[in-house]
């Protein structure tokens, strides 16, 4: 493969990663890392560096339109970022003090559980019955968004803010420890625990992951893990894919998004459990 072929093919793969990542609230690392290492035989360090770039590109590329369309709940994002950034700091502190093996097992079990809970909720198009939520009331987290597929404004109430904060803290620790973008944990936490509509959950997760990744990206860059030749086609492709994905989210059915997410969670969960099993 010549450098030109690599640049073109990696950009095409990255368009897909950006598209999927922007719809599901993930960074696209689950596509970018295996594609770069297995298919293009890129050094794993540079693949991880490029995937950090991919997370930021997905987040910023899609957020520009999600924020404009009020799909992102900015207040929820700001409040939860308190927990994810603190978690990421704790994770960086704990790195090396905790065994990675058990983390993978715990992470895998949590994902399997989330996929099961999401599966039980798969037919619901909009959020369930409102619960009392003193914290969400005080922080004015309740909002509404325009659902293009349903063709109407959907008001929603946020609940279990403290549980959400706790889950986000754990998600932050995991991303700090394992270096995985934790969108796959953030979305179920918002969808299942806090009662946000699935589209708002993915758009808000998408908004949040860029901030966490930006903090670590500086470190990766200084360490020489971000190879511009590898990262360039990834950034270009992901930015284009995310722009396309963010235009499609509104038109997709809530149950479709949830279904794609469930499949993804099961796949990730198996990967994590296998990694923990092998040690």
């Amino acid at each position: 493969m010549t450098p030109l072929e690599f640049t073109l093919l990696a950009a095409v793969v990255s368009v897909a990663a950006g598209f999927l990542g922007s719809i599901l609230g993930l960074g696209g690392g689950i596509i970018v890392i295996p594609a770069l290492t297995l298919w293009f035989h890129i050094d794993i360090r540079y693949a991880i560096g490029a995937s950090i770039v991919s997370v930021i590109a997905t987040s910023s590329g899609a957020a520009a339109s999600y924020v404009r369309e009020r799909m992102t709940n900015l207040r929820v994002a700001m409040v939860l970022e308190l927990a994810t950034t603190t978690g990421a700091l704790s994770g960086a502190y704990l790195a090396g003090r905790l065994g990675g093996r058990w983390l993978y097992v715990i992470f895998g079990v949590v994902m399997a559980y989330s996929s099961l809970m999401m599966f039980r909720k798969r037919h619901s198009e909009i959020a369930g019955t409102p619960r009392p939520a003193p914290w969400a009331d005080r922080l004015r987290l309740h909002a509404s968004y325009f659902d293009e597929q349903l063709g109407r404004e959907v008001p929603y109430r946020v609940s279990s803010t403290r549980l959400g904060l706790a889950l986000m803290y754990v998600a932050g620790i995991i991303s700090g420890l394992l270096g995985i973008g934790s969108g796959a944990l953030k979305v179920p936490a918002m969808d299942l625990a806090m009662g946000l509509p699935i589209k708002v959950s993915t758009a808000t997760s998408n908004f949040m992951i860029g901030v966490t990744a930006a903090a670590s990206a500086g470190v990766y860059f200084a360490r020489g893990d971000i190879d511009p030749f590898v990262a360039a086609p990834v950034a270009i492709g992901v930015l284009l894919g995310a722009a396309m994905g963010s235009r499609s989210l509104g038109r997709l059915k809530n149950s479709t998004i949830r279904l794609i997410f469930i499949v993804l969670l099961i796949w990730l969960s198996v990967q994590m459990l296998l990694r923990g099993w092998r040690g």
């Binding site: 903090a215 971000i226 511009p228 360039a232 950034a235």
Partner: protein, 137 residues
């Protein structure tokens, strides 16, 4: 703030969202343009990239040489090197979410929303802190 008063009739939250969206869009488009330009410059300077598979291994295997400090990037930019231009574009991309948080603090302050200005300021400080802790470690 910068949008020429075109959205005066809108409620403040809406205006803030538009402004935030424009900050993100500006960062994304600038970085996209710079990265594209750098890639084109690289291929223009190295015609062998179109035909030589050995070149790909040299560019992407462990120990590949490329700019990874601000000083490298600035030096490379002075010589109009493609890799340095791409690195500049990547740095702009990385700075975009950080700028988004900083701008949010100002927007909340402008709306006199002290609670959220404080929350966002703490997030910003934690971000800076984790960046410096990471660079030291």
């Amino acid at each position: 703030m910068g949008d020429g008063g075109r959205h005066i009739e809108r409620p403040p939250v809406r205006r803030a969202e538009l402004f935030l969206s424009n900050v993100l869009r500006g960062g994304v488009l600038t970085s996209l343009g710079v990265i594209l330009a750098g890639t084109l410059v690289s291929f223009f300077h190295h015609p062998e990239y179109v035909s030589s598979p050995q070149e790909l291994a040299r560019l992407t295997q462990a120990g590949a040489a490329f700019p990874h400090t601000v000083r490298d990037v600035v030096a490379g930019l002075a010589e109009l090197r493609g890799q340095a231009i791409v690195a500049l574009g990547l740095l702009i991309l990385v700075a975009t979410p950080v700028a988004r948080v900083a701008v949010s603090i100002l927007l909340f302050l402008e709306e006199r929303d002290r609670t959220y200005a404080a929350i966002t300021a703490i997030v910003f400080l934690l971000l800076i802190l984790s960046f410096f802790l990471g660079t030291v470690a």
